[in-house]
């Protein structure tokens, strides 16, 4: 009889333990699931707000704004934006930015890309926690300084002295050198403890209209050349400053040229229409007929650049070489009160 009672009491305890454990497990599972869902939801909301920023700012030209977002790390890749495990593909995205944007303050800026006619707005994004150091006292560096958003954390030095560079605990540092020569860049000692790839440099050889850009990255305490590319116009040059790798720059600039090729087709067709109009003066027609081959060349070179990896210098030169004569023809049409080419 006593044995039976002891068994009953034990069974009660075992039953309570099992039921309690089951309840605890269920609640723990619900809490963990809810936590992960809430994190995903926060990331998704942040991604949507970034998407709205991209959509909203990329349609307006020459604007700069400081946006407050949740304190998250935003990864930007070729045609892809990701926050945590949530990512979204944007096939024609033109967003020049560092590969990682940290912090709750994002700087967004736009500039229009024109060669010589406008075809797209380039969108730039960066974090206030990234330091930009401009080296040089040339008009080009001064113009870059003016063109970069005033919200950016930037410093300007007239000459490069690595000992003057201080480490202010930024997660990324980007140097911009103007026509500094071909000698290897000396790496500042103060930044030697920063992880590889977090200190980058852009060496510009050219002017505000066009030139060659070399991308450098820190590797074991020194700058290593990671690739060379080209730019046409101020907007593309500013894009190269915001993008921290040659791959990211070229991915974006190829999308820009793809669009430039399509817009060139529109201008080619429009100029052909104008050239065939019987009511326009001979001066107008002269300007239109000269422009046709120039627009056609720009269109063909842009389409080639949209496909080429790396960018081909000859196609870049075709666009540069055709843009100036085309803008002269556009001025001619203005002079003779003809409909403008662009």
């Amino acid at each position: 009889m006593r044995n039976k009672k002891a068994f009953e009491i034990q069974f009660n305890w075992i039953f309570v333990l099992i039921a309690g454990a089951a309840i605890l497990v269920i609640f723990s599972l619900v809490i963990f699931k809810q936590k992960s869902l809430s994190e995903q939801s926060t990331n998704s909301i942040a991604l949507r707000s970034i998407e709205s920023v991209v959509a909203g700012t990329s349609v307006s030209t020459d604007v700069s704004s400081l946006i407050t977002v949740p304190d998250l790390s935003i990864g930007v890749d070729c045609g892809k934006i990701s926050i945590g495990k949530i990512s979204k593909q944007y096939p024609r995205l033109v967003l020049f930015s560092p590969s990682l944007i940290k912090g709750n303050k994002i700087i967004a800026q736009t500039l229009s890309f024109s060669a010589p006619y406008k075809s797209s707005n380039l969108l730039f994004m960066t974090s206030q926690q990234i330091k930009y150091i401009l080296i040089g006292d040339s008009p080009l560096i001064k113009s870059i300084n003016k063109s970069l958003s005033s919200e950016i954390n930037k410093e300007i030095f007239s000459s490069y002295d690595p000992s003057k560079i201080k480490n202010s605990n930024n997660y990324k540092v980007r140097f911009v050198f103007d026509n500094i020569g071909s000698s290897p860049l000396t790496f500042p000692n103060s930044l030697s403890k920063m992880p590889d790839g977090d200190v980058t440099a852009l060496k510009i050889t050219g002017n505000l209209d066009n030139g060659v850009i070399d991308f450098y990255e820190n590797n074991a305490g020194s700058f290593v050349n990671k690739g060379t590319s080209y730019y046409i116009g101020k907007a593309a040059l500013i894009g190269a400053i915001y993008a921290d790798t040659v791959e990211h720059y070229e991915c974006n600039i190829k999308n820009v040229f793809a669009r430039h090729g399509i817009v060139s087709d529109v201008y080619l067709s429009r100029t052909t229409d104008l050239n065939n109009d019987a009511f326009l003066s001979s001066e107008c027609k002269q300007a239109y007929s000269t422009s046709l081959s120039l627009i056609s060349n720009i269109g063909a070179a842009s389409r080639n650049l949209a496909r080429a990896t790396p960018l081909s210098q000859s196609d870049v030169n075709i666009i540069i070489g055709s843009s100036d004569p085309l803008s002269i023809q556009n001025k001619e049409t203005q002079k003779f009160s003809c409909p403008l080419i662009y």
Partner: protein
Amino acid sequence: MNNRKAQIQIFETIAVLVVFFMLLGIGFIFYTKVISSNIESDTAEISQSKSISIAQRVMFLPEIQCSEDSVPKENCIDTLKLDSAISVINKPENSLYYYDLFEFSDISIKEIYPSSGAAIQLYSKFTTDYKNKFQTNIPVALYDPKTKINKFGLISITTQTK
């Protein structure tokens, strides 16, 4: 007698547990209903913002926007550019490019003053499998660079979202 009492106690505990889990289940069903209604309202909001961003893209499209020496004019469509853009946008090799920009939508432009003309379709791609449909009408100036005459028009953007 004791055996029966213990059995009753066990049944009591089981009954309490059953009621507890039933209440938990009802709570969970209520929670999922609230969450799913939130998701639906979020989806509608996303669709609406997608529709607005497509409309914005159309309004600032360099292919049709009036410009003077590369300086764009807002709310103005160059009719000569429009004629050229229709053929360029509808080229098969550009269809994927414009699908990425406008997705499932219909963009048409119509003159409404001084004369009321037929709508000119710039882009059209529809799907039967959609959840939301939004229409945005924006008044614009239609500028003819040959005659330098401005007309009053309406750009109609219909977007479908899944």
